[in-house]
């Protein structure tokens, strides 16, 4: 089963040899299932000069309860791209792992990486495969961003793609947010975002936008100063993907909180 000529796509391979491992291929009993599993919430992405920044809060909710305080929803998809997941946590994590393997698999089989648009299209078709479950309330929406190695101008190489439950992708200009707090995060970014931000400024802006989301959305967690749990912040630049250390995000988040002490509206 491994030696057939086949495709370079890992999901296409799985659909032949182990279709039960694909999230969209499982038969679901009828009825709504929206409240049975934890939900992951807000992710923001900002295009900066020479790359892109993605940040996510750490809360997962189940109805009116907090299911987890330190969930990690922003991950590297491969060496130059990032993926964040909002929606049903279990399916989201499974899809994200599958997407990571998909990209790595193609790279190993073909000896070259997929283009950034190719990666976004692959992710779109994987989300589309989950449509049946999404209609029963188990929706997963990713946010995808990466450094485009083929971009003519390296300063504009950071690109962001959003998706809906039926797939996508839709390329976004400048910034985007997904999840329950995305409305507030996007409103904050609309006023503060400027084209050509430095990576450091974009990082601060992302944490600030998550603070605004947490301010108005109960499902989004703000910086947890007592437990020292801060947002996950990652960047993708020409040097590859990088996750800011806990000490770095702590410093940024504490800076945001101390400014809000003087002016709660930012």
């Amino acid at each position: 089963m491994f030696t057939n000529a086949g495709t370079s796509s890992f999901t296409a391979f799985l659909s032949k040899v182990a279709p039960e491992m694909l999230p969209g291929r499982r038969p679901l009993p009828p009825g709504m299932a929206a409240d049975m599993a934890p939900h992951a919430t807000t992710i923001v992405a900002i295009a900066a000069s020479g790359g892109v920044v993605m940040a996510g809060d750490r809360r997962a909710t189940m109805g009116n309860l907090i299911a987890q305080r330190d969930i990690e929803k922003v991950h590297p998809a491969d060496a130059y791209s990032l993926v964040g997941i909002a929606g049903t946590a279990g399916i989201g994590i499974e899809l994200m792992r599958l997407f990571q393997v998909e990209l790595e698999h193609y790279e190993k089989i073909e000896g070259a990486m997929l283009s950034l648009d190719g990666k976004a299209n692959r992710l779109a078709s994987m989300i589309r495969g989950n449509l049946g479950a999404a209609m029963q309330g188990l929706a997963v929406i990713p946010l995808f961003a990466g450094f485009d190695l083929a971009a003519a101008d390296p300063a504009r190489a950071g690109r962001i793609f959003s998706f809906d439950v039926t797939g996508g992708p839709y390329e976004e200009t400048g910034y985007d947010a997904i999840g329950s707090g995305s409305l507030f995060a996007k409103s904050a970014l609309k006023k503060r975002f400027r084209a050509g931000l430095s990576i450091d400024d974009a990082t601060r802006l992302a944490v600030e936008a998550l603070y605004d989301a947490a301010d108005d959305d109960t499902a989004t967690g703000g910086p947890d100063l007592t437990r020292r749990i801060y947002p996950v912040v990652m960047t993708a630049t020409a040097e590859g993907t990088h996750r800011l250390t806990d000490a770095e995000t702590a410093a940024i988040a504490e800076g945001v909180v101390s400014r809000r002490m003087e002016n709660p509206g930012g």
């Binding site: 491994f2 030696t3 000529a5 086949g6 890992f10 391979f13 799985l14 040899v17 182990a18 491992m21 060496a79 130059y80 792992r97 599958l98 393997v101 790595e104 698999h105 790279e107 190993k108 089989i109 000896g111 070259a112 990486m113 040097e239 590859g240 993907t241």
Partner: protein, 278 residues
């Protein structure tokens, strides 16, 4: 009615072995050795895109000699199997031994069941925490597996190359020393009348599994970084270490011939002689 000639099973196996050995012996060679910082693969390859050495998984690499289409088929199967197991269980649960066993099963089945065996010899290498923990598995056309002691050579005149390698190799050698030892071993055969020859840097395919990296440890060494290692320049060892797992290499200088397949290139322009003693 045509008479079916009887051929004994022994005779059939002998013929198949001979076919496979001849095919492998015509090809250019490859060596694999462990050094202080990881496992080094060096293959003589005129093509910069049709690889004889490649990545299978985080800490596992693959090197092959013989027919390109045949070992490429095995490599893809290995990548699929590793990715499937890594996704089903955990990335740590994908091991070199598991892959070597799977390759051995496939090669063994092809050798006994198909009319033509695969004319390939492959190496599955897994990098460990120290050179003693590295494992190199040699798999031959009939599915036999050997656990090699930190170094191995495959392809045409492998015994002679192994002899040189054995004298040169030490597990604690640096990357630059290891590359030069591999180069010396590969170039010790194939010249006029069996004498040594010189191999240009752009005819070598070089890659390492870097012991100190986390995650995907495989990286190719090409262009200026390779030339610096071959010249033994100070600091060359450390040069390519930072940076990311950047598998797509920019093709450097092309070898001056219109090669289309690493396998077919190997079979052309080489003396079609048998190895002595086989």
């Amino acid at each position: 009615m045509a008479m079916q000639f009887y051929a004994s099973p022994e005779q059939i196996m002998r013929d198949r072995s001979e076919l496979a050995r001849k095919g492998i012996a015509r090809g250019r060679s490859a060596v694999v050795l462990s050094y202080e910082g990881g496992v080094l693969f060096v293959a003589e390859n005129l093509s910069s895109t049709l690889h004889k050495v490649s990545e299978i998984y985080d800490r596992i690499g693959f090197a092959a000699v013989g027919r390109y289409n045949e070992f490429e088929n095995l490599r893809r199967a290995g990548v699929r199997m590793a990715d499937l197991n890594g996704l089903s269980y955990d990335r740590r649960d994908v091991t070199g031994l598991g892959l070597a066993n799977a390759f051995a099963q496939t090669l063994g089945a092809i050798f006994t069941e198909q009319s033509k065996p695969f004319e390939v010899e492959i190496c599955v290498a897994e990098v460990g925490a120290t050179p003693d923990d590295d494992s190199l598995y040699r798999l031959t056309y009939d599915g036999s597996v050997n656990d090699e002691p930190g170094r191995m050579a495959m392809g045409g005149q492998a015994e002679a190359i192994t002899g040189v390698l054995k004298n040169e190799h030490r597990p604690e050698m640096s990357l630059s020393e290891a590359v030069r030892a591999a180069m010396k071993a590969l170039s010790s055969v194939g010249g006029e009348g069996g004498a040594a020859r010189t191999i240009a840097a752009n005819q070598l395919e070089v890659a390492v599994l870097d012991r100190r990296r986390v995650g995907r440890t495989f990286r190719r060494i090409t262009g200026a970084a390779l030339t610096a290692l071959l010249d033994g320049e100070a600091g060359a060892d450390a040069a390519p270490a930072p940076g990311r797992a950047k598998t797509p290499t920019v093709p450097t200088e092309e070898a001056k011939k219109p090669t289309t397949s690493a396998g077919s290139a190997d079979l052309e322009g080489q003396p079609q002689e048998e190895r002595p003693g086989e």
